[in-house]
């Protein structure tokens, strides 16, 4: 009994350290879960740790030297490969209330909903990205700068088929239409439903990289979708859209409802 107690007291701090590290790893896993490329990232990290452990236990000096030489390049490669994910992590940190500044105010909330419903009724394809803490300036550069007050009439004009600006997304900053005809990064996940069109994939792609909230109106069906943090909520009714937008933009609640 004394031996057990002695062992416990001797290794208490070690156990605590292991538990803290495990909690950090588990937290990182939960955060990264569902992101594009998480499996590859976890696979590379686990393989490297496993090889390092084996080389340490069996005193494999050549392997150990090789791993220590290669690890710097692997780290650089991971940064380059997972640049979009890292951008999202930074955006999430920036959108944290602890670090966030005054942020954007989406004053014309009703106007956005009204416009979306009208676009849906007319079956006009549209993608509207509402900027939050993370800047969408880099994406606005691919389009045409508008910088006009957000109005239903303006949006219906922009998304009217065969007009020069209808192809691409609109970026809304505060209560203004910042840019139109913008090209958003498209999610390339192959396992995704084939029925999901390019607009919806662009919404997922953009929200995977930034904290923006994106509204998509399907050109084929006129259905309304809402996307945040790479999660798409499809087939929303106007009342549901209002409720979810309120939760996302005003109450700033984290996603509690998963995509159906």
């Amino acid at each position: 009994m004394n031996a057990v107690l002695e062992f416990f007291l001797r290794h208490f701090t070690d156990g605590l350290e292991i538990l803290i590290l495990s909690a950090v790893v588990y937290g990182a896993f939960l955060y990264l879960k569902g992101m594009r490329g998480t499996r590859i990232f976890m696979g590379v990290v686990v393989t490297l740790i496993g090889l390092q452990l084996i080389s340490q236990i069996f005193d494999l000096r050549v392997l150990s030297w090789l791993l220590s030489s290669v690890s710097v390049f692997v780290a650089m490669a991971l940064v380059v490969i997972f640049q979009p994910e890292l951008r999202r992590v930074v955006a999430d940190i920036a959108s944290n209330p602890l670090f966030a500044g005054p942020g954007s105010k989406n004053a014309n909330f009703d106007e956005i909903i009204e416009t979306t419903v009208e676009l849906s009724n007319r079956q006009m394809g549209a993608i509207i990205a509402i900027e939050r803490e993370a800047s969408l300036r880099v994406f606005s550069e691919s389009g045409v700068r508008i910088d006009a007050l957000f109005t239903k009439e303006l949006m219906l004009t922009i998304f009217f088929p065969r007009t020069p600006l209808h192809d691409g997304g609109v970026i809304v900053h505060d209560d203004r239409v910042f840019a139109a005809s913008c090209i958003f990064p498209v999610d390339k996940e192959e396992s995704m439903d084939r029925a999901i069109g390019l607009r919806h994939r662009a919404a997922i792609g953009l929200t995977q990289e930034t904290d923006a909230v994106v509204i998509v109106v399907s050109e084929e069906t006129g259905s309304i979708s809402l996307c945040r943090h790479g999660k798409l909520e499809r087939g929303l009714k106007p009342a549901e859209l209002r409720r979810r937008l309120t939760e996302m933009l005003l109450k700033d609640s984290d996603e509690t409802v998963d995509a159906p």
């Binding site: 292991i18 495990s22 790893v25 939960l30 740790i49 390092q52 452990l53 340490q56 236990i57 005193d59």
Partner: protein, 50 residues
Amino acid sequence: MKQWMLHNWRAKIGSLLIGFAIWYLIKVSIDPQGVSWRALREETGVIQRP
């Protein structure tokens, strides 16, 4: 508590193993004599190196 433990248990066990592996690697590099597997083997004489 039991429900929490059983929920996503694979990820929890995996995280614990990875956490232990990271701890071991760091511990070995900062305190080679304290925890090294090598030192343990030499003490017990399981593997004798020439």
